[in-house]
């Protein structure tokens, strides 16, 4: 019975993440359009696109790994989703968060890039491989400030679990945004890379790489990837809300917090051109890493 409850709850959580992620994505397209002085697509445009991709009637495959690539991507998104508390008190969204901690989550979150990279590799498109090398390089870049922020929080509050960090905020009554501000800054700067919006959209880079790893994927593959990206965006936003903004008590609060967090990479992105890969990598090893070091020093000092 417990298993059924988990599966059912997992499906509900997945649907929530899917819907929210897609809507946020559509909102982003609308915002970009408005900033470019266009009318823009409706904010439910992403659903239409996804359903269209889903209902494509033919497809090609390049071999077993081509099927497995999107599956790996989905594993990364959905399993990360299952280990993140959506609301402070489970409720409709039971999850497995007490079965794994932040370091587990960290590895789970990078898993998708590698899996997708393998799927893209088998298509044999040189653009895919170039995109992958860029993406992995950028990942090494942003993981550094990101792990620094997390380590700073872990040593400040003596816990490595997400629920532990949420409890700390609940007990002290202050958000970690204020309790460890430098960690927040480092994490947010790292999140710019995680979302891969401009100026860090070097992986897809439509004008250069013909959308990179996704270039040989249409129809059902692209649908899987698109839903996975939407879920993953929600995962990242919820994780940030949980870690720094004290989590959420109800859905409305969650949506507001995640939306505000989402606006940071979006609004930073719309006014920026694209970096070269080595510039992007070095950008993350510049100020974000400095903030990370300050965060760790602050955490050591304050404990």
């Amino acid at each position: 019975m417990e298993i059924l409850q988990y599966i059912f709850g997992g499906i509900i959580t997945f649907l929530l993440a899917f819907v929210v992620g897609m809507t946020f994505g559509g909102t982003r397209r609308k915002i970009i359009a408005r900033i470019q002085n266009r009318y823009g697509p409706p904010i439910y445009q992403n659903f239409i696109d996804a359903f269209k991709l889903f209902s494509k009637t033919s497809a090609v495959h390049h071999g077993a790994m081509h099927y497995m690539g999107p599956a790996f991507l989905m594993v990364s998104s959905v399993v990360s989703l299952m280990f993140i508390p959506i609301l402070r008190d489970g409720g409709w969204f039971p999850n497995l968060n007490f079965h794994g901690d932040l370091i587990f989550l960290l590895y789970m979150m990078v898993f998708g890039s590698l899996g997708m990279a393998l799927g893209a590799g088998q298509t044999g498109n040189p653009n895919s491989a170039i995109g992958v090398t860029r993406g992995l390089a950028q990942m090494v870049g942003y993981e550094i400030p990101w792990i620094m922020a997390l380590v700073a929080m872990m040593i400040q509050f003596h816990t490595t679990s997400i629920t532990g960090l949420m409890d700390v905020q609940l007990q002290s009554g202050t958000w970690n945004l204020f309790a460890s501000p430098f960690a927040f800054v480092a994490a947010i700067l790292a999140s710019l890379g995680m979302f891969r919006y401009a100026p860090f959209n070097i992986v897809g880079a439509p004008a250069e790489l013909a959308s990179g790893p996704a270039s040989e994927n249409g129809g059902k593959y692209l649908f899987t990837m698109m839903s996975s990206h939407s879920v993953f965006a929600f995962v990242k936003l919820t994780l940030f809300a949980d870690l720094f903004l004290g989590g959420a008590g109800n859905l409305v609060e969650l949506l507001i917090k995640t939306f505000l967090l989402y606006m940071i990479p979006v609004l930073y992105g719309v006014v920026n051109p694209r970096y070269r890969t080595e510039q992007a990598v070095r950008w993350f090893w510049g100020w974000p890493t400095v903030f990370g070091i300050i965060a760790i020093a602050y955490a050591v000092w304050s404990t």
């Binding site: 266009r38 445009q45 239409i48 359903f51 439509p206 013909a210 270039s215 129809g219």
Partner: protein
């Protein structure tokens, strides 16, 4: 689900809605028509509000735009790109050149009638068609999808031999590898 005609009908309606409101275009910028695409997509005419959006590769695209005259050399590429696209897929021919050769009607190395080689759903007349005309062309395509008559891939498959014969007649150095279709 497949046999239940009523539920199938609902699915069809939703599918047709999704397909006509999400047209990812692959702009095959052959002739002078390519210059009309940016102005159609950007601020003034903003095709994205209709769900029209650029796709990077044939695998992701729904609509192939043939923007202008096609030389024999490029026809080969166009056929390949068309065959790489995933059905349902649509083709829009831009301008008089795609319709009847236009000002190149007597050229030795441009093709005259595009729909002899690949199934075309919508032609947009003009030399060149302005963005308004392009948008109305997309509107026409949406209508056709709604009516269920934009079935290019089906026609292509059914009359495959005829299309291939036409293609081979005009392309002298036919070197399509057998992996293509």
């Amino acid at each position: 689900m497949q046999n239940d005609s009523r539920s199938q009908k609902i699915v069809d309606i939703i599918q047709a809605y999704a397909r006509r409101h999400s047209l990812w275009i692959l702009a095959y910028g052959t002739g002078c028509g390519a210059i009309e695409i940016p102005s159609t997509m950007t601020s003034r005419y903003d095709a994205e509000r209709l769900g029209v959006r650029g796709a990077a590769t044939p695998r992701q695209a729904d609509v192939l735009l043939i923007t202008g005259y096609l030389t024999v050399k490029t026809l080969k590429r166009v056929i390949r790109v068309y065959e790489q696209m995933q059905s349902p897929k649509y083709v829009i021919g831009f301008g008089s050149c795609a319709i009847n050769g236009g000002m190149y009607w007597d050229s030795y190395n441009t093709i005259k009638m595009l729909d002899q080689y690949i199934p075309v759903d919508v032609y947009i007349s003009g030399c060149m068609p302005r963005p308004e005309a392009v948008l109305s062309g997309f509107g026409k395509l949406q209508d056709l999808i709604k009516a269920g008559v934009a079935d290019g891939p089906k026609r292509y498959e059914e009359n495959f031999d005829w299309y291939r014969a036409n293609q081979k007649k005009i392309i002298k150095n036919w070197n399509f590898a057998d992996y293509n279709w």
